[in-house]
């Protein structure tokens, strides 16, 4: 057994024993026509519609208007620290000017934050989802802990379909955490009533830069 | 077209009027009907309860009995499904018995599909219900794989016209399920109660049901509760629409 493997080797031998000899069939072919959603019209419109249906708020802006738009969205958030993802601050230096925003908060600040501002790596029009990979300048908690999360998306990064998006990932080079966010956190566990903001964000704004 | 009639045990014993209506309608649309009296059961109770050997023997019997017939028509969805969907699988592939079971499976149709799809029958006018009457459709579980609920609804509309009203959870089991109804009578009863509640809510005073098992269950529940809802097979309604004479049964 290799060094990362412990436990009972019987698991593998019982599986091998259960294999049927006549099962050399190749993996089924994927027919893209039945897998991919048909998207009519511009991807951006489709994405925005599905994102709204998933309970997120979308806004389309020009890049120059980003700080002003985010500032106005922050007025609707609770009081508390605002977290700005370092990777996004690098891409959009103008955001550093936002009042009191933290790039490297303490744990106390992270857990008392009212809002987080992060960038999306990609978006999926079919489902209205935003993809975000964790990384050194993209801390996991920024898009999770605060009640309000603002996700900045460049319109050029919208992909049509989940299948296309995952198919383009490099299987040998996946980030430690990749999350597809499709709406505010929610639950219907109590009386089948949908309530948002259970553990994760209760309000998700998607600010789409059209000329990015 | 020549057809053999597979009447099924329940319809034979409890609903002879349905059988008479099936024959009258088929004849009306130009079929010659043969009823081979040797027929008994399709083996569904055996199959459903894991008695595959018994089921195999009965399917083989039916394949022999209906060998001369061009097509076979059956008023029951579940017995048709037994022969069509489960019959061939009881025999080893490649053998003569399998081939015969497949031949039978290929030529047997539930009455509804046979009338509207194979014969392409159309009614000039819908069944003459009393003025103001409303009808609704129970979709028997065993129609799954034979007719979709949407198709069944379209056909019912063809039979009763605008009198058709929707039934909530029309495709939910009525609680019959053969031995299940007796073995787990309390659960079965709850399922029946839900079906009857939906039926009451629909406001219909006629329930179309092309399956004798469901009919026995639903009608039995209606009778116990003293509800004046009539349950009828499509064949009976078509025969009535065409004004075909049916024998009195009592």
């Amino acid at each position: 057994m290799s060094e990362n493997l412990r436990g009972n080797p019987d698991v593998r031998s019982s599986i091998s024993a259960a294999m049927r000899t006549a099962s050399a069939a190749p993996a089924p072919e994927h027919d893209a026509n039945i897998i991919r959603s048909r998207i009519e019209g511009p991807l951006l419109d489709h994405f925005a519609q599905k994102a709204e249906e998933a309970g997120m708020h979308t806004a389309r802006i020009r890049r120059d208007d980003l700080p002003a738009r985010i500032s106005s969205l922050l007025h609707g958030a609770d009081d508390g620290p605002v977290l700005l993802e370092p990777a996004l601050a690098e891409e959009e230096p103008a955001l550093r000017e936002l009042d009191g925003c933290l790039l490297r908060p303490s744990e106390e600040e992270l857990f008392s934050a009212a809002a987080g501002i992060v960038a999306a790596d990609a978006a999926i029009a079919e489902t209205g989802s935003l993809a975000r990979a964790a990384g050194p300048d993209r801390p996991r908690g920024f898009a999770l802990v605060p009640m309000t999360v603002i996700i900045v998306l460049r319109a050029s990064r919208i992909t049509a379909d989940l299948y296309e998006y995952l198919g383009e990932r490099d299987a040998r080079n996946m980030p430690s955490e990749l999350v597809l966010i499709t709406g505010p956190s929610k639950t219907a566990d109590i009386g089948m009533k949908l309530v948002t903001g259970i553990h994760g964000p209760g309000v998700v704004h998607v600010v789409i830069i059209e000329d990015g | 077209m020549q057809v053999g009639l597979f009447i099924t045990c329940l319809t034979d014993t409890f609903y002879p009027r349905v059988g008479a209506a099936v024959v009258a309608v088929l004849r009306h649309f130009g079929c010659t009907v043969r009823f081979p009296p040797e027929q008994t059961c399709c083996g569904q109770p055996a199959y459903n309860n894991g008695l595959t050997d018994e089921a195999r023997i009965l399917i083989e019997r039916l394949a022999d009995i209906f060998e001369p017939d061009e097509r076979v028509v059956c008023p029951s969805a579940s017995c048709t499904a037994m022969v069509k969907r489960h019959g061939p699988g009881l025999f080893a592939p490649g053998g003569e018995a399998r081939r015969r079971a497949e031949t039978l499976a290929g030529k047997i149709f539930d009455f509804n599909t046979f009338l509207f799809d194979v014969l392409g029958a159309e009614l000039d006018s819908p069944a003459a219900l009393r003025p103001g009457a409303q009808a609704t459709l129970h979709y028997p579980c065993h129609c799954r794989g034979l007719i979709t609920a949407a198709t069944a609804t379209d056909r019912a509309r063809g039979v009763v016209g605008e009198a058709l009203v929707p039934l909530e959870r029309a495709d939910q089991c009525c609680g019959f399920g053969g031995a299940f109804a007796m073995e787990f009578q309390e659960i079965s009863d709850a399922m029946l109660a839900d079906k009857l509640a939906c039926l009451e809510e629909s406001g219909a005073d006629l329930l179309i049901c092309d399956e004798s098992g469901c009919r026995m269950n639903i009608e039995g529940g209606l009778h116990r509760r003293g509800r004046p809802v009539r349950v009828a097979h499509t064949a009976e309604l078509v025969a009535e629409a065409l004004d075909l004479p049916l024998p009195e049964v009592s």
């Binding site: 599986i15 990384g135 956190s185 309530v195 553990h199 | 018994e54 609680g175 024998p247």
Partner: protein, 469 residues
């Protein structure tokens, strides 16, 4: 679990519980209605289900190879793998991991496998504190209750019962208000997430080519679990393997829609290895416990296709029996149609009714119609009945009676005799053409709220013979 000991007794208790029945019926009807709408969006839902089935079958056909490649990917990523043949081995592995890293406070996201293993009990014995973080599971943990649905664990509890739990166990003010209760849960759980040192999750899929654990959730608790703790343990059954990211995409398209009528769940979470050195948050150590516990035996036998299951719960929502009795009556960890199969097939979490459950179905086929991977549950239930019927010593009484009836059906003469006897017996007891109560064979029929029609004087074949048709 407390309460009656047999399926029949639990079902009877559930049928008498109006509050439970209303909650379950409303929830399941609503979920099924939404599922249909969601699936109607797919370009060709049937073809996609077919493809999903083939992907699952292909994987199971080559499971040894895909397991090897998954383990290879984990090695590349520095993920420690633990193989467990039984529930005991799996639990021991988790406890050992906790000890190795000196973990005391675990947070757990929803995992049916962990229920099957009774992991929480094992952790408790090892003095490791564990908190369920899915809201439904949290409510159940507070009450020492069990999930009654695969994706909606507390479906049997109504708002009042949830409010009562929070009042009794958390000292919260009583409020029959889902919003207020959710706020309480959010506040309570924040500290728990922050202080936890061990994250325990299940795995919806494990992707062989990339070594990725996929978790599908809506509440944000899955992401929170892997935020602060330094150790992450993911539990998976051997059947959770998916070869490629593209295969996972196909299954994800069906999972969200089938389970909760979502195009994609709120968080579809791909975890590939521990955090990288320069990342701020995330576990430093990642372990995966791969559990057999009866699965390899299924793989080699008649019930292999039940391993296709992706635990969406659609079969529960559409099942008229589940709708009538809810999930607890089934007794095992997995309720509903798929539970009737798994209870008898898996080693752990089976409950004591494995022999009864396959019969408690009208074989209506609604489950097969909605299953995203086309598991022919009715057919497999029939196979289980056949297994019982072939065991001469344990053949159920019902089976013996049906066998006798079927023997009669082999000849026209005996059929007609049986028909005449039945007609005679019914007509003897009938009033106005109906039998209202009957002893012996058909007692189960009339004991329920239904009468039995007396057969007409002439059968169809009588009329035919008399040339009246």
């Amino acid at each position: 679990m407390n309460g009656p000991e047999t399926f029949r007794a639990r079902a009877r208790a559930a049928l008498a519980d109006g509050r439970l029945r209303r909650a379950v019926l409303e929830a399941t009807i609503e979920r099924e209605r939404k599922r249909r709408t969601a699936c109607a969006e797919l370009p060709d839902a049937e073809a996609l289900r077919e493809l999903a089935r083939r992907i699952r079958d292909h994987t199971l056909d080559h499971l040894d190879g895909y397991l090897a490649s998954l383990i290879d990917s984990f090695r590349r990523l520095g993920v420690q793998v633990h193989l467990a043949s039984t529930a005991e081995e799996a639990n021991a592995a988790v406890v050992e991991i906790a000890r190795q890293h000196d973990c005391r406070r675990a947070v757990k996201s929803k995992s049916m496998l962990s229920e099957e293993l009774e992991l929480n009990e094992a952790l408790g014995e090892a003095a490791i504190d564990v908190t369920e973080t899915d809201l439904g599971e949290f409510l159940l943990q507070l009450d020492d209750d069990r999930p009654s649905h695969l994706t909606c664990p507390a479906v049997h509890k109504d708002v009042a019962s949830c409010a009562d739990t929070f009042r009794r166990k958390l000292g919260a003010p009583y409020a029959e208000d889902p919003e207020a209760l959710v706020r309480i849960a959010r506040a309570t759980m924040r500290d728990v997430f922050r202080r936890a040192d061990l994250a325990i999750t299940g795995a919806n899929f494990a992707i062989a080519e990339s070594g990725t654990i996929v978790l599908v959730m809506n509440e944000g608790n899955g992401r929170f679990c892997v935020l602060k703790p330094k150790v992450h343990v993911a539990l998976m059954g051997i059947e959770k393997i998916v070869p490629t990211l593209k295969d996972a995409a196909v299954l994800l398209k069906l999972l969200g829609k089938s389970a909760t009528a979502q195009r994609l769940s709120v968080e579809t979470h791909f975890l590939t290895g521990p955090k990288q050195n320069d990342e701020r948050d995330g576990p430093e150590h990642m372990h995966v416990v791969i559990v057999d516990s009866g699965r390899s035996a299924m793989l080699g036998g008649t019930y292999r296709e039940a391993l296709r299951c992706i635990r969406c719960g659609a079969c529960l929502n559409v099942c008229p029996v589940y709708r009538s009795i809810g999930g607890h009556a089934y007794g095992g960890v997995y309720p509903g149609p798929i539970g009737k199969l798994l209870s008898g097939l898996l080693e752990a979490g089976s409950g004591g009714d494995a022999a009864t459950l396959p019969h408690a179905s009208s074989l209506c086929g609604a489950c097969l119609e909605v299953c995203p991977v086309q598991i022919d549950i009715p057919d497999l239930l029939i196979s289980m009945r056949a297994d019982q019927a072939s065991r001469r010593d344990h053949r159920p009484k019902k089976t013996r009676l049906i066998r006798a009836a079927m023997l009669a059906m082999r000849s026209e003469g005996r059929y007609r005799l049986a028909q005449r006897l039945l007609r005679f017996a019914l007509r003897l007891r009938a009033e106005d053409g109906w039998v209202r109560g009957s002893p012996t064979l058909t007692a189960g029929w009339t004991k329920a709220q239904r009468d039995l029609p007396a057969a007409p004087a002439k059968s169809f074949r009588d009329l035919w013979r008399e040339d009246r048709i």
